[in-house]
């Protein structure tokens, strides 16, 4: 059962992800044990997600405070004409209050909750990651550049990615590009074969 929930958190997004995450937290120790037993994932993104979930389940105080900050801010700004805080303020507050400690949470949430989150959370989180060092932020930003839904937000992520020099970024981008090209070749070949069969 826990594995099923974990898979939902791993592959789901939006409310599915939130429900799965909440269930893992509710399960407590069994969920923690399950996650610990999974070992290290060869996929860096999956590994980050796993670690984040482990911390959520075990009760990472910074993560909780960060989400509490989000909630309070939302409540305070909702009745106003503005209706939301300014993303730059959000980013500055996150950096001021948490340093880079909530990057593992927000980096994952960015992709998982883009479709649910209001503008300020997504933009604020991206600007927050921009303020951090490459080691803490690059992987999340790159993932968002590739998989984010909104052009506007992807553009923000790209800008954030390029804001600070990251020696390893080009290597990573090259590696991903190579993979994409290999995939493209495979797909092209398959398409050719399908076309010739249809003919």
């Amino acid at each position: 059962m826990i594995e099923f929930i974990f898979q939902a958190a791993l592959h789901g997004s939006g409310t599915t992800f939130l429900a799965a995450e909440a269930e893992l937290i509710r399960q407590g120790q069994p969920a923690s044990d399950f996650l610990a037993a999974l070992g290290k994932s060869p996929n860096p993104w999956d590994q980050r997600l796993l670690e984040m979930l482990q911390q959520r389940v075990t009760g990472n105080a910074d993560f909780a405070a960060c989400l509490e900050f989000f909630e309070q801010t939302e409540q305070q700004t909702a009745p106003t004409a503005q209706g939301e805080p300014i993303p730059e303020w959000v980013a500055a507050r996150l950096a001021q209050d948490f340093g880079g400690r909530v990057a593992p949470l927000l980096g994952i949430y960015l992709l998982k909750l883009e479709g649910l989150w209001p503008y300020w959370k997504t933009a604020g989180s991206l600007l927050y990651l921009e303020r951090l060092g490459p080691r803490e932020a690059s992987m999340f930003l790159l993932e968002f550049v590739l998989k984010g839904e909104s052009n506007q937000f992807r553009s923000l992520a790209r800008k954030a990615l390029l804001a600070k020099p990251d020696p390893g970024l080009l290597t990573e981008v090259t590696r991903r590009l190579q993979g994409a090209e290999e995939t493209a070749v495979t797909l092209r070949q398959l398409a050719e074969e399908l076309r010739s069969r249809q003919a």
Binding site: A81, Q82, P87, W89, Q96, A123
Partner: protein, 1267 residues
Amino acid sequence: MPLRPMLGELELQQVQRIDSDQEQLLVRHAVPALEGDFLQGLGRRATAFALDGVLTGPEVGEGLSSLREKFHAAEPVAFAADIATATRIDQVLIEAMDVREIAGHALRFEYAFLLREFIPPPQPRTEVPPLPPPPPPEAETGILEVEVIVEGQPEYDHSATTVTVEGDQADGIPLSRTLTQRSANIWRQQQFPPGSYTCRAVANAPPAMTGSAPGTVRAGETTRVTIVLRAGQVIATMFMIHHRFDKAFVEPCMRAVLRQVAEYAASHADENLLIVGHTDESGSVDYNQSLSERRARAAYAFLTFGRDRAAALAEWNELRRQRPSGVARTLRDSWGAREYQYMLQDLGFYSGNVNGVHDGATDQAVRSYQSERGLTVDGDVGDQTWPVLIEEYLTRANLTVAEDRFLANAGDACDGGLLKWLGCSERMPVNSTPRGQCAEPAWRPNRRTEFLFVRAEALPCTIPQPRTWDLPGPGAPPPWCLGPGSSATPCCFITRDPAEADKWLVQPSEPETVTVRGSIRFADGTPLANARFLLIDPDGEYLTGEHVCSAPKGEGIAGRTDATGAFAFTDRPRRVGVYTLEILEPVLARPADDPGVEAKGNVVCKRLDGSADFDVLVCGPAATDFTLVVEGAAEVGAAGSGNFIAIIAAGEEVLITAVTPAGSCAAPRSISWSGGQEVPEHGLQRRVGKDAITRQTVTATMASAGVTRSVEIFIVRLTLDVDADRDGTVEDGASGKDVWAFGVGRKGAIILLNCDNDDRPAGNSQIDHVNQVVDSASDIPDLASLVVRQSGALPAGVTLMLATPQRNQVRIFDARAAAGTALIGPAPLAAEATIAGAAADAVLGIEALQYPGPGFNGEITLQLLLRDGAAELARDTAVVRVAPWVMPSHLQPTEELYVVETGDNAGFVAELAAIAAARSILLHRTSNSDRWMQDTMEVGYSRMPGQSLPVVAKAVRRRGLRDFARNELLGGDYGYFEVSTPTPDNTFDSHGNLEVSPPVLVGGSNYRLGRIYYGDGRGSTPFNAEFRQFLEAQQVQKPFPIDTAWLAVGHVDEVISFLPSTGGKGFRMLICDTGAAITLLRRFRDDGHGSRTLFSGQAEQISVDDLRTELGGSAPGELGWANSFCQGRLNGLRATMQSELGLAAADILRIPALFVENPRSPRLVDPALDPVFDAHIPGMVNLLAITGTSVAETHLVLARPFGPVVGGSDLIEAEVRSLLAPLGYSAGQLHFVDDYQTYHLLQGEVHCGTNSKRRPHATPWWEQTDF
């Protein structure tokens, strides 16, 4: 003594480091195939140097502040130091400026400057490239340039101006030429023969103007002649025919010219015709007077045969008679074998050469003619045969020029009827007449009859009675009323010289020229080489030469084709018109490119206009078969079906030609026709006019070969009609419907996005354009009309289709009725549909499915297609445009108001309700926790002639009111739409951040519907891209962004508003102004109200004095700093609005306002980030205008400012009342309502909490032409 470095006014103390950087600019040129490079020095770069050190002292702050301003502005700064002396640097730019205050040391700063030598950029050079030199004139010729000037009209359009040059070349040869190479008002002719000329210019467009000037062209030189055009002279537009030597007979080739004359007379009711005969100079003047009159009389009879047959026949019968020997004054013109050969050949009885010899072939032709016409067959053309032959010859043209086209022969109570014709004898020889060879040169161009069309009612001079006026007599000739005139000046009324301004100036009707080339060949291409021929141009000149002085005087000199059968006359351009080619060989010929003309003999007539050469086909054997070729109609069914369809277009015609096999020719009369109409000069063609709906069978029979062929022509009328002229009705067959254009009086029909919900009362929740039905009878006015008109039966297998390439943007119903069925639209409908043939016009309904937007400019192309199977036969196209969404400004009368009841704002709502009720305006209330009614929507409208819909645009905003517009406003005749976007909303997407100005004139651009403005957001939080693109795509209210990023909420309505006003432009722009508020507070203090409180009863209550004290604080975060910052932004906004809307200072009213930094301002967390602000005093610019039909009927609802109260009066309110009074607002029109707790403290004011629907602009959007 070393200088201490000075940067601007600041002494750079304690310099700790100086680095300098000087670079040469070298460019490397590789040496091909060799080692080593050439290096080229291009000078040096500006020297850079870095200075680091420490600054101390109280004056440092001010100096650094000054430097920082220069740094931001990238302005040069004075610099003095040793290093400057050494390098002669006296001005620098600050490339980098890094200053840090050293902790623990007051007024002590570390500095690091990177300075760059300032080298002023070179002045931009504007080099005008030299004009290319004109090509040098060729040594043997010169260049003639004629400049034509109309005084006071430098932009005069010279398209109807003709420039001619006449005179003598250097060798004495006359030259007459029309110049054709024009650029603006200058005619330029290269390779012009040297000589002395008169250049003449005539502007024929009314009022006619003329002018002339002399010019001498010299070899190798360019001659410039300037002509000044002046009005006053009567222009005589001239057609002409030419005649054989000593003959008045009208030859068959001239018939085409006379047909032109008749057509011109019929179509120029404001011009009168005078026919004037001329002769060459051979023979006596006395004799030539009669001859010239005979020519004019022959032409007059020819032109009036259709309306006065007997008179014309009588005239020609007299003309054909033999002139008694020695008699000069006679109408008899001595026609003989040549004339009846011409006529018999034209009628198809004689195919031999026209040579004036009654030989065996001629005799046979005469007998054949006599036999066919039931005459005595004797081979003699005498009194029995001539009249029949003449009548038949004249009947072929059967021309008619009405009586009222001629001048009157009347005066002094005398009415001589018409002035039918006149003769000039030999008194007006043309300029090209050869001189010096003999006293009386023959010259065919002089043997002419002119047809002069003038805008005049009478001759400009008295003329003598024509010599042959009373001939043939006896009888009762009409009286001669004009005159008396001198017999020496029978031609006093016309001239070719503009200097003779009292005469009519003769101008050729077709001054254009062509280069004459041609060929004579057989059908297989074999040339008729070395063949003798004569070629006569439209002016009557034998291009091959004429026997000018000696026998056979007046005859043409034969030319010869070359080995390829070709001929060319390229020495000079010749006039456009009818050319006569007489092949002096025993051949039958016809124009090679005109299969409708029979091969009658050796004479071929052809009009040359530059589109084709004079190519002639020599015929082989007589044709024994033919096919019918149809032009102007499309064949339907299988090839060779004989069924054709032509779509009606007035004035056009279907041509049916009997085409014989290659090489063979049909003789005249060899093919007989039934059906259709005769085509002049084209015996092998029939025509069927498209002016009437008809189904006609045309049959051609070649009896000699026993071949009959028929075609059936279906002429139908098919049009796709729309309301192209935007008057609310669909015109029948209107033009200009296929191109859509903005502007008054321009064309293009309009359709509406059918975005209301007319059958909502019946429970349908779908917007009308979403479903595929007409949503009840109420929906019909929202559909534009599209009318398919069809008359005439279609041939079997032919279908009529309606189609559009924009099927996803439109839906078309088969009827504009509640029972209409959708024909065309998005899937599952198709892009085209068959229109069932109907006798009556089919009125279809059409609705748009989307507004203009990215990738769709709003234009829909509709096509009515006529198809035969899959083949398209014809199409009619109409372009319609989807009406854009338009925002009304505050100047438009308010029709409905909207507000949210939140539970805590009952007082506010009650005040608003009272104000609305007093104006009989509906206040629509809804309950919600989201109070920001302005931000959730914008109510605009869409309009087509005859129908206008209010249309609410839902904001890209996902807050509590997100469903309000759809759930509560959408309904019958209340449209709704939203723009799809993948990006979640931010505060700039609220429609409090979307407003429109009143109509404005900006420079030369007239924005009749105003311009939309919006705050464009911040880098991380921009105005929604999809909505911006939507606004731009509407075109008619050209949007522009303004900077509202410094406001926490960021909405334009917080700081700018427009009001109707008396005077000025009819409106004023209100803008927040902190300076006005600070001045006002000072005045309160000066008036002794410093202890009075603002915001009384609120937590923020503060005295005037304390507030002024706070406003004195200039440190970041303090109130003074905040308002100074905001005023800087407001000044920028004001400048932007003035520039974008063409506003003057007088158009703007500054309303007192104060701002305070928002508690979640980013700067408060990170000083490097920008601050944002909220209204401190409740924002009064952020108001609701309840606009009436005049300023006096307009009411404003503003936030109560909670200013200091003195004597029961709020001093800030009083100030605003006094500011608005000059705009026409009395105290009773201004309503200050308390929104402090319920809106102000939540960052909004009255406008944010309300919304309105307003009346559409009086000016239709389609009249907008500036975008």
